[in-house]
Symmetry: C2
Subunit: 399 residues, 2 copies
Amino acid sequence: MNFTYYAPTEVVFGDDAERHTAEMLRKYGATKILLHYGGHSAQRSGLLDTLRRQLTDAGLEFIELGGVVPNPRLSKVREGIALCREHGVDFILAVGGGSVIDSAKAIGYGIPYQGDVWDIYARRAVPQTVVPVGVVLTIPAAGSEMSNSSVITAEGAQGEDLKRGYTNNLCRPRFAIMNPRLTFTLPPYQTACGVVDILMHTLERYFTRGNDMALTDALAESLMRTVIECGPKVLADPHDYAARASIMWASSLSHNDLTANRDLGDWATHGIEHELSGLYDVAHGAGLAAVWPAWALAVMDHAPERFTRLAVNVFGVPYDFTSTRNTALAGIRAAMDFFRRMDMPVNITELLGGRPASDEDIDLMARKCTAGGPVGRLVRLDTAAVASILHQANTNPLP
Amino acid sequence: MNFTYYAPTEVVFGDDAERHTAEMLRKYGATKILLHYGGHSAQRSGLLDTLRRQLTDAGLEFIELGGVVPNPRLSKVREGIALCREHGVDFILAVGGGSVIDSAKAIGYGIPYQGDVWDIYARRAVPQTVVPVGVVLTIPAAGSEMSNSSVITAEGAQGEDLKRGYTNNLCRPRFAIMNPRLTFTLPPYQTACGVVDILMHTLERYFTRGNDMALTDALAESLMRTVIECGPKVLADPHDYAARASIMWASSLSHNDLTANRDLGDWATHGIEHELSGLYDVAHGAGLAAVWPAWALAVMDHAPERFTRLAVNVFGVPYDFTSTRNTALAGIRAAMDFFRRMDMPVNITELLGGRPASDEDIDLMARKCTAGGPVGRLVRLDTAAVASILHQANTNPLP
């Protein structure tokens, strides 16, 4: 399996790492900065004030744009682009998690681009240059702080929102500042969603057709075992620095192509989940947990060796020498048990608070998900196959 | 444990990857190139001719400097600097392994520096800029293709060679092209030396004081297990593409700070080995195998938990519940068994072909090794401690 690896983001990791923010901004040539963030948590925790003071003390000019929401919106991106053009911004500092970073990347594409930024996400234009992004990470989950991808939601009529991802090395953040202590106050639900997201970024890459890269598989398995071990620890003790640190670093490594190139992964679960969170505005990590078991059951017979390997090497399931299939099934069951331990849903009904997705919604999601052709790489799933997985995912797929 | 991670090298990995060389050179702005290489193997294999033709076809101007030897020499570096200045070289393409890459990095420092390049390795000057380096890797071992360090030997009177390393992010190669097939013809001894070197880059980082980074430990253990599994495979079948690929990628990851920052590692074994290869001009990997067991025995009681963990998690030694120390000892024995399976020496007498290091040589090496103060981080070793380890290493330290 051929691959490329390019992860130029400079990482500053550790307690108090955020005190290096102004220094990094200067190192990467920022002169006029957009401070971009989400809701109230960064304000309440005092992090924003700390950064404002630090930038001011360092003589760095900045303007602000907050209010980024989960599943970040195109309207906010457009607002940011206009604001940055007006003030001649040459660097964007994203303070937050994947949503804020993705929003920052989109603004970075949009400032120098002549047309509307959605052209890029709609594949009608290819960016030639960007305004660079730096990150102070507060929510480890998406891995966007070292990745070359971003996902933006264009608001439409009811049920017609369009969530689209775009991948380009230009947008990889120049630096990422990670202090595990900044994640101590992350609520349990968001913590759990992040852990599932990290696991899934690795799992999507794990389910490729190839079996020939022993090292990549071994690294991926280590990463997943570590996350599975540390996830329940931080739910039990939100101030467990070591466990928070491992999860934070895992979030970056799970999406910086160390555990295989993005374009070699499967990504069907992500594709299906994008429609779920697009339609119901649910958290991405929870949506992934609700979809994955049904996907796994639908495709497991196409790659029994990988599902068995996952069961034994990641979830510590004893190998059932009488049945490879039973071993693989026990692995899927173990994944669901892990989701439950993290208080995550394992089906759509749990995800939506007791209500299954309607037949109409499933048809709509399946059609939108496959509008560009079948999804998935391990197994190519057409509209009917995606609809069938969504139906399966409505209830416990593995009783 | 705080750390930074910065690995900007763009990796192109896979069969026929070298066909992208001209494309990468152009991407990174090379206009006048030094083609830098070692002995006859790259010539004999046809790789150099392929690259010459590719560069010529792409209209890229280049000059050549071959003849880099293992433990690369300062005299060759100076020759390269003069040559590059004369021809206005703005990019160095290193074709080979760690020696060629290290030589290229030193030339890259030297071209723009006003004084003599040895000032930099002697810590009398700090480089402000470099002529960049790109790599076509043919010997996976040193990890220099993604690392920020290089080691150069200044020729002196008999026994007075000085081998010094220097670390600076400026020298990290811009790109590294890795085709596992190019390593099929590597002789068994060089293959084994490379495998030991890779293992040791990870081991030196594994033996730090900290125990709080579960993910980094898990990744390091995966990397070591993979190398231990694949090493004997490629000795048995030099054309095992999958095993060659895992070793090649492991060589880069073992030294790009993924398994912990360089400056958090121990590096005593490396420091001692530098004196051995400086004095006897032996292969670096073989020297490491000859030194490590004696080092491990000397320091194991200072970090029993890490040596036990190495034994169980990396070498698969069953935990001896009656004795942590016996478990740790069994791990050191397992490492020696692995070196033997790779036809590597496990002591200095084997390294030097049946002759132990003399007391005078040991004194000289111990003094030179600690000229800048004690070495090692897990345990600080002064001159007497280093001499004691070298004496131990003369014969099988663990009968």
